[in-house]
């Protein structure tokens, strides 16, 4: 969700500050003694990757793979660290006090910055902040010893230069949006968009009707088809009504007027359609049209400039001076960032909040002289400027703990300590960053990677399905939860299914999809198909925090648990106990523990019901009883993993219908042809079953995560046929002291989602309650979140199955400082890694084991 922010979080894990160049003496050589400092020696960490990054440029990187070098060559302003009992981070001998690490705790510390101040009230008036506003403008004081790896000093002007390059419209840099989508820097978007031309909804680019140029505004009442022919996209009002389903045939202005009449129960004249396609100038010049226009705007009454809502305009974003973009240097070492939305970077006591290291950890930085030399003018037929900055050894610059020293495209890279990194001199980080070099090689074949790992040539390996039985219980295997929440998506668009030649209309029947959900043994499914993913019955896995500072996990709340119980058929008795129909449980917690999402008896009954529905309305489902039902399992690749998944789902369907009239009639087929377009193909109905699909990210915003299921504008929904802007939900909000409390509301699911996230107004929703974070009690939000999760799962378009757990087998050459996984620190990352052998000792150790460490790595203790 916030890719850069996620990257910075990872950075916070791997980047830290090293204890000068001094490495106190102490034992190594297999003695995993956490209480001793690490001895001098050469420690090379060897790892592998499937694909090398194409660049490590903060401005342009495209995906997480591109961050594998980037993570080591940049530095954060603020970073997470372990929390230590009584603040005692070090033993008397200078070693990190591993025993004092507080499980689950974290601190946020200054790194490249030394001070952070909220300057919302003291910045220039031009930024438009009003009295009482906080958290919109921040002044970051930088360390004065920041340097590039060649010793060139870094100051605040470098960050300002970089931001200008980041937002330069000539480059259309991939990560520019981070600074107007995630961190909303003042005027960042207009700066990127400047010079762009095209048809836009007038309300999007004007705040008031431009009386000086009424010829620019074209009234647009017809729908998309007509608009496309004219070359401009729809206006606000059309979209608004279309969202509510009032316009089915969207190609005719008269129908649009009629539909709007229905929506507002107004009395617009059919002649209003005459306005369509006319400029505002033409309308104002004609008395009849003017009258119609006034009637239309009065009828609409959305605001003083409601006419804009009906208009489109061919607009060119005006030029923006970078001086009006909200990043500037107040002095050589003071950087000010002004934003459109606030971030609470400081706690009440003035210390750094988790947000400082999560949302505001850093700003991009490029080395000016090198960056300028790497710019490339557009080639023939193109207008796009490009750069090869940070894409090879010659074009690389680092201001992080490591620097690139070797790079061979498609083969390998090597990072070595950047001795000009400020962090090594920080007192707060003694006895850390012992790894001198990181060597990474492309190893695309899993068997090759395992042989290299078992012969001590690489120091970690991801546990795969084929090896999990041998290494799952190894003392070298570490499991880490992730935010990924995955499931099986079933295509259910009745219109498309009915016309499909696969005779698969039964998927449009809710009971059938529910039956599959109730029949699926998720534990067995995960054990069969995935290495380490665990059963998850909800849309959100166990890594979503609603209260970060206090460790509040959404999945552990009463609201979330009761929501899932209701989803899977449990009911609460009057005495407070819970029942699934067969057993009674004394509390929701006991019931939750017992729940596995299965009810195979009910599943069979539902199949019978679905069959009856299918045969009774065969025509509407496009069902032909003489033909088998084909359910196509689609995927992007034909490999052992996808085959395994397919086989399990096929088996489940076959067992599900066994003993029912559908026995032997369902044929689940495999199709890997969708390839890279697998997601779009599923959304269009090219196949019916998409497994292992889901979303990841947004760990601290569980309510926002629902955008993946309830926000059609986010473009993430798999069930695109489900019109969440039409689907209504009636629900009584919990009592409390907030707007709308204790009342029964009926609104669309999208409206509910928008209210929950405090974006109902900006989403143009009918009900504009703001129940976002900080505006209502968190318990209220949890109730609503659980309810929406229940509703989404209850459609059975998505069958939740798994939550992400990654499993890594680490080599014996290095050890983590703690076995406890920490959300913010992981297992300590490269920063806290404890070498057990020098490179020379390791070679001897491996040789002593006949170059085969299988026995060692299968040890459980």
């Amino acid at each position: 969700m916030k890719k850069l922010l996620a990257m910075l979080m990872v950075l916070a894990v791997v980047v830290g500050v090293f204890a000068g160049c001094k490495k106190p003496g102490g034992p190594v050589g297999g003695d995993n003694d956490k209480d001793q400092p690490i001895a001098e020696g050469d420690y090379t960490y060897r790892t592998y990757t499937l694909v090398l990054p194409s660049n490590w440029n903060e401005l342009t990187y495209e995906d997480n793979n591109d961050t594998q070098i980037l993570n080591y060559i940049v530095s954060p302003f603020f970073e997470y660290d372990y929390q230590f009992e009584n603040g005692e981070k070090y033993n008397e001998n200078g070693a990190v006090n591993a025993d004092a690490i507080v499980a689950g705790g974290f601190d946020v510390k200054y790194s490249a910055a030394t001070k952070l101040e909220d300057v919302t009230q003291s910045v220039d008036e031009k930024w438009g902040y009003t009295e009482g506003q906080e958290g919109y403008a921040w002044k970051i004081t930088l360390r004065k010893d920041l340097k590039w790896d060649d010793g060139t000093p870094i100051d605040a002007h470098d960050f300002v230069y970089t931001m200008q390059q980041q937002l330069d419209p000539k480059f259309q840099n991939m990560r520019a949006s981070t600074y107007y989508v995630n961190i909303q820097v003042k005027n960042a978007r207009p700066y990127v968009y400047q010079g762009q031309s095209g048809w836009f909804g007038a309300e999007g680019v004007y705040s008031t009707i431009d009386e000086a140029n009424p010829q620019d505004l074209i009234i647009n009442l017809a729908g998309a088809n007509h608009n496309e022919a004219l070359g401009y996209s729809s206006c606000y009002v059309f979209n608004y009504l279309a969202d509510y389903g009032f316009v089915d045939d969207n190609s005719d202005a008269a129908k649009f007027v009629a539909a709007m009449n229905d929506a507002y129960k107004g009395s617009l004249s059919a002649d209003t359609a005459l306005l369509h396609g006319k400029t505002l100038a033409e309308i104002k010049a004609d008395a009849t049209l003017s009258t119609l226009y006034e009637a239309l705007v009065t009828f609409w009454q959305e605001g003083p400039d409601g006419g804009l809502d009906f208009a489109v305009t061919n607009y060119t974003y005006p030029a923006v001076d970078f001086a009006d973009v909200g990043v500037y240097a107040a002095s050589d070492y003071e950087l000010v960032v002004c934003m459109d939305s606030p971030i609470a970077c400081l706690k009440e006591d003035g210390s750094l909040s988790y947000e400082a290291a999560y949302s505001f950890a850093s700003l991009p930085l490029v080395k000016e002289s090198l960056y300028e030399a790497c710019k490339k003018a557009p080639v023939e037929g193109s207008t796009l400027w490009t750069t090869n900055y940070n894409s090879s050894l010659a074009t690389s610059a680092s201001w992080g703990p490591y620097k690139l020293t070797e790079f061979q495209s498609g083969k390998s890279y090597k990072l070595e300590r950047n001795e000009n990194w400020y962090g090594y001199a920080l007192e707060d980080n003694q006895d850390q960053y012992h790894v001198d070099a990181i060597f990474c090689e492309v190893v695309a074949e899993v068997n090759t990677a395992w042989m290299k790992f078992l012969s001590g040539q690489i120091d970690d390996i991801g546990l795969d399905v084929d090896h999990k039985d041998d290494y799952r219980n190894s003392k070298y295997t570490y499991f880490a939860p992730g935010t990924g929440s995955f499931g099986i998506n079933l295509y259910a668009n009745k219109d498309v299914l009915a016309s499909s030649d696969r005779n698969n209309g039964i998927l449009a029947i809710d009971d059938f999809r529910k039956a599959f959900s109730l029949y699926l043994d998720r534990d067995e499914y995960n054990a069969t198909c995935y290495t380490s993913d665990r059963t998850n019955l909800g849309l959100l896995g166990p890594a979503y925090y609603y209260d970060v500072e206090n460790g509040g996990v959404y999945r552990d709340t009463q609201q979330a648990k009761e929501g899932l119980l209701r989803t899977y058929g449990f009911t609460q008795n009057e005495d407070g106990t819970w029942t699934d129909g067969a057993n009674t449980y004394p509390s929701y917690e006991v019931a939750y523990e017992a729940m596995n999402g299965m009810n195979r008896t009910l599943a069979k009954e539902l199949v019978q019901k679905a069959y009856e529905e299918l045969t009774a309305n065969a025509e509407s489902y496009g069902y032909d009883a003489s033909k088998p039902i084909e359910l196509k399992y689609g995927t992007k690749a034909d490999n052992a993993n996808t085959r395994r998944n397919y086989e399990y789902i096929k088996k489940t369907f076959e067992e599900l219908v066994d003993g029912t009239p559908l026995a032997g009639k369902i044929n689940v087929t495999f199709d890997a042809s969708p390839g890279a377009s697998w997601a779009n193909d599923f959304k269009s109905g090219a196949y019916d079953i998409a497994a292992g699909t889901g979303f990841t990210g947004g760990a601290f915003d569980p309510a926002g995560f629902l955008q993946c299921y309830l926000d059609p504008n986010a473009g993430l929904m798999y069930s695109t046929w489900w019109d969440v802007e039409k689907e209504m939900l009636t629900y009584t909000m919990p009592a409390g002291d907030y707007e709308g409390a204790g009342k029964e509301h009926t609104m669309s699911l999208f409206n509910w989602y928008s209210c929950l996230n405090g974006i109902a107004e900006s989403n143009g929703q009918a009900y504009k309650y703001n129940w976002g974070t900080g505006f209502v009690d968190e318990a209220v939000r949890l109730e609503l979140l659980a309810k929406l999760e229940e509703v989404v799962i209850g459609k059975y378009f998505t069958i939740p199955t798994s939550s992400e757990y990654s499993a890594t087998v680490t080599g014996a050459k290095f050890a983590y400082i703690t076995d406890e996984y920490n959300l913010f620190m992981g297992f300590g990352g490269m920063r806290y890694l404890r070498p057990q052998y020098t490179d020379t000792e390791w070679t001897a150790f491996v040789a002593a084991n006949n170059n085969n460490l299988t026995t060692e790595y299968t040890k459980t203790e």
Partner: protein, 335 residues
């Protein structure tokens, strides 16, 4: 003169064929639909604007359903721009969507990755040809004796096993179990050092074992047939030793078939072995071509298509001409 005319004619046809194939490649790859995929946190405007700015699409419009409509820039205009870039600026373009190579000069990447592929296949050929021919000759001379039968057993075994299995066996035993050779090719560009050569041996062996088997079978069959010809009897009756007759007469005649197959084998392997390169982490070109289509990376696809097309067409001519050198009775283009 006949030969010269023939070669000129073939070269002319080759250039024409090359141009037609390249035109088809360009049009076909450009006809594939452009999928506009926006990931979480990305701005769809930027994704689309990049495609517009690169000159691929125009008139991009966001539709009410959240998808984009656009017009493709006419393919002939794109072709014109592409040719202008190549001939006026010598620029074959940059990678756009191929992971690992986005923003890289496609020519630089190709030239950097070609040497390992060529070397591994060259070593493989250098090893497999003499061994294959030698064993093939031996088997032919010992036709139907126990030595021939023994060789046949091994040959059938090697031919039956796909190179992936051979690679796995070599990697497991030679590299992992007995630790005789490195498991993956070393990094770096010093291709002519002993450690680098040693690290290339596993993929070379994986490739050449299959080739050896092929050459043995081919040589044995051809030579065995030639050895039974009456002119071989005549050669012996003229007083030539068996060795002299075999080398001077039998081998030369059987080479008419064998040598072109060696040439075509070598040219075919220039494309690299996807599986072997992947297994031994050889930074070669094996995967590039396939990936360039999968990821719809136009410039990579066109450069690689041009290279392979050119090499294949040239190989056809070279092989045809080689017949004339091996067997003087064959005169290309003669009436």
């Amino acid at each position: 003169m006949y030969m010269f005319k023939y070669v000129m004619k073939r070269l002319g046809l080759m250039i024409m064929t090359f141009c037609i194939i390249m035109l088809m490649c360009f049009v076909l790859i450009k006809l594939l639909p452009i999928v506009i995929t926006v990931q979480q946190g990305q701005d769809a405007n930027i994704i689309v604007n990049r495609l517009v700015a690169r000159g691929y699409i125009t008139n991009a419009v966001l539709k009410p359903d959240g998808t984009w409509s656009y017009d493709r820039v006419p393919i002939l205009i794109q072709l014109g721009n592409y040719l202008k870039r190549i001939f006026m600026e010598g620029d074959f373009g940059v990678g756009v969507s191929l992971p690992s190579y986005r923003g890289y000069s496609v020519l630089d990447v190709f030239l950097e990755k070609l040497p390992p592929t060529i070397l591994i296949n060259l070593y493989s050929t250098i090893i497999s040809v003499p061994i294959g021919l030698g064993i093939g000759i031996f088997a032919a001379l010992k036709k139907n004796k126990w030595q021939d039968q023994l060789i046949n057993v091994f040959i059938i075994l090697l031919i039956s096993l796909p190179s992936i299995v051979l690679g796995l066996v070599i990697q497991y035993f030679l590299c992992f179990k007995w630790n005789l050779l490195p498991q993956t090719m070393l990094s770096g560009f010093d291709y002519f050092t002993w450690p680098m050569f040693k690290s290339m041996l596993p993929p070379v062996l994986a490739l050449c074992l299959g080739s050896i088997a092929g050459y043995v079978r081919f040589t044995r069959a051809e030579l065995a047939e030639v050895l039974t010809n009456e002119y071989m009897l005549l050669a012996r009756t003229k007083g030539l030793t068996r060795g002299q007759a075999t080398i001077r007469h039998a081998m030369r005649n059987s080479m008419v078939v064998i040598l072109p197959s060696i040439l075509s084998d070598f040219i075919a392997v220039l494309s690299g072995s996807l599986i072997i390169e992947s297994m031994f982490s050889v930074p070669g070109v094996g995967r590039l071509y396939l990936d360039s289509i999968t990821y719809q990376d136009y410039d990579f696809f066109m450069l690689l298509s041009a290279f392979y097309c050119f090499v294949t067409l040239l190989a056809g001519i070279v092989i045809d001409i080689s017949y004339g050198f091996i067997d003087p009775r064959i005169r290309m283009g003669a009436k």
